[in-house]
């Protein structure tokens, strides 16, 4: 075990850094996708409600590993070979970010839609009755209240997304799991390698969820 830490420790830490980078990039775009499709799910427009629902159902209905293969191998093949004339090549980081953004974005859309719909309709009506537009009412009254109820679910989703980055080891992005596979292959010390990797995830996620609890408590202080 000591051997692995002294020889491969830095390598694993760098890989953990890549895991965090991938998770952050994915989450950033997932927030944008989630907000767009979440809002499309609540506005009074049947077409946009349906589009939002189809997106969410499609992404939720496909395992992330399939999505990863599809984005990394399938999409470039579609453009380069089936359609032809294009030269599309995604790096593993780009493909991984897209996968996480789509996957987590779909869940975020549902969280945002449910959060907005959990705010009493009377809040929107009162704002509109004063002459405020739909957008103003949303921004100033409904969203601030919705976000407070969404925070615990958001954090839960962040943690899931962070763990989901490990799935992207299959497309060769050298994040923690992918790197650990190499360490195991070099050392044959399976037990020690995976124990260390498990502990690394555990530490990061525990720090994240603990600080989330603190944040949640601060925000929910009754005003």
């Amino acid at each position: 075990m000591l051997n692995i830490i002294t020889v491969y420790g830095v390598m694993l830490l760098v890989a953990l850094g890549r895991t965090l980078l991938l998770a952050l990039l994915g989450l950033f775009f997932a927030c944008i996708i989630g907000l767009i499709f979440g809002m499309m799910g609540v506005v009074k427009n049947r077409a946009s409600n349906i589009i939002s629902q189809i997106f969410v159902d499609a992404i939720r209905g496909v395992p992330m590993i399939v999505l990863a293969f599809f984005v990394y191998f399938g999409v470039p093949y579609l453009f380069n070979t089936i359609i032809g004339g294009f030269s599309v090549n995604l790096t593993a980081l780009q493909a991984g970010t897209i996968c996480l953004a789509l996957n987590c974005g779909a869940y975020m859309a549902e969280i945002i839609r449910a959060g907005i719909q959990s705010v009493d309709i009377g809040q929107m009506e009162a704002a509109r009755s004063l002459g405020l537009t739909y957008g103003m009412s949303m921004r100033k009254v409904v969203l601030p209240q919705a976000i407070r109820t969404m925070i615990p679910t958001f954090i839960n989703q962040f943690i899931i997304t962070l763990k989901d980055t490990s799935i992207l080891s299959v497309i060769g992005f050298p994040e923690l799991v992918n790197t650990a596979k190499n360490v195991q292959a070099n050392t044959f010390m399976s037990f020690q390698t995976w124990a260390i990797v498990g502990i690394m995830y555990l530490i990061v996620i525990t720090i994240l969820s603990r600080s989330a609890k603190v944040l949640e408590r601060r925000l929910s202080v009754d005003r």
Binding site: A126, R128, S129, G131, T133, K140, Q145, R148, R223
Partner: protein, 247 residues
Amino acid sequence: MIDKSEVKVSVKNLKKHYGDLQVLKDISTDIYKGEVVTVIGPSGSGKSTFLRCLNRLETVTSGTVVVDGTDITDKHNNINKVRENIGMVFQHFNLFNNLNIIDNLTLAPVQLKKCSKAEATERAKKMLSKVGLSDKAESYPSQLSGGQKQRVAIARALCMEPDIMLFDEPTSALDPEMVGEVLQVMKDLAADGMTMIIVTHEMGFAREVADRVIFMDGGYIIEEGTPQEVLLNPKEARTIDFLNKVL
């Protein structure tokens, strides 16, 4: 107080359906400047829906609603501009829970650029003192009692300086001992000459303050007239039946 030369709200052949359910069947009435109208009737008679059609919180199926010369059933007219002029008070107060009381009052005037933040704050403070809640400016809605919330809700509507005020059962969700304080604010408002349309179950209030009482049942206006006419000498069988049950 009533200025018969100026119609503030004119409703003609108003109908409202939810799918197959006809909530408002054929409503026509004019409301004059400075008039205080109370709408009474059994639950499910369409009184709240009628009120909510007057600022288009409910879309109208057919007929016209003209407010201050603007037909609000016409989609080309800017409903937000019209709403700036019609205050509304809800049964469940609907104060903005994420904002403190002063921000509840200044949000709309500032957002809609009716005045500067400083002017809005000044006016908000004046309105709060009018409803007797100057000391609650920095509180949050969750810290107020029901009666206080409803008085804040009235002050919030007044901050937009509306010509017309709509009240949708403003005292129905209040504990009995808090009804009086809210009715008092409404009486003061009526005495100031505000045009008011009030859906209520407070018959005593209707009798005391209203210029006209409208009795609705089954989506129709069954009877309307002065409080003396409608509440004390009702002519229609359904009005008599209703009043026997509630008085």
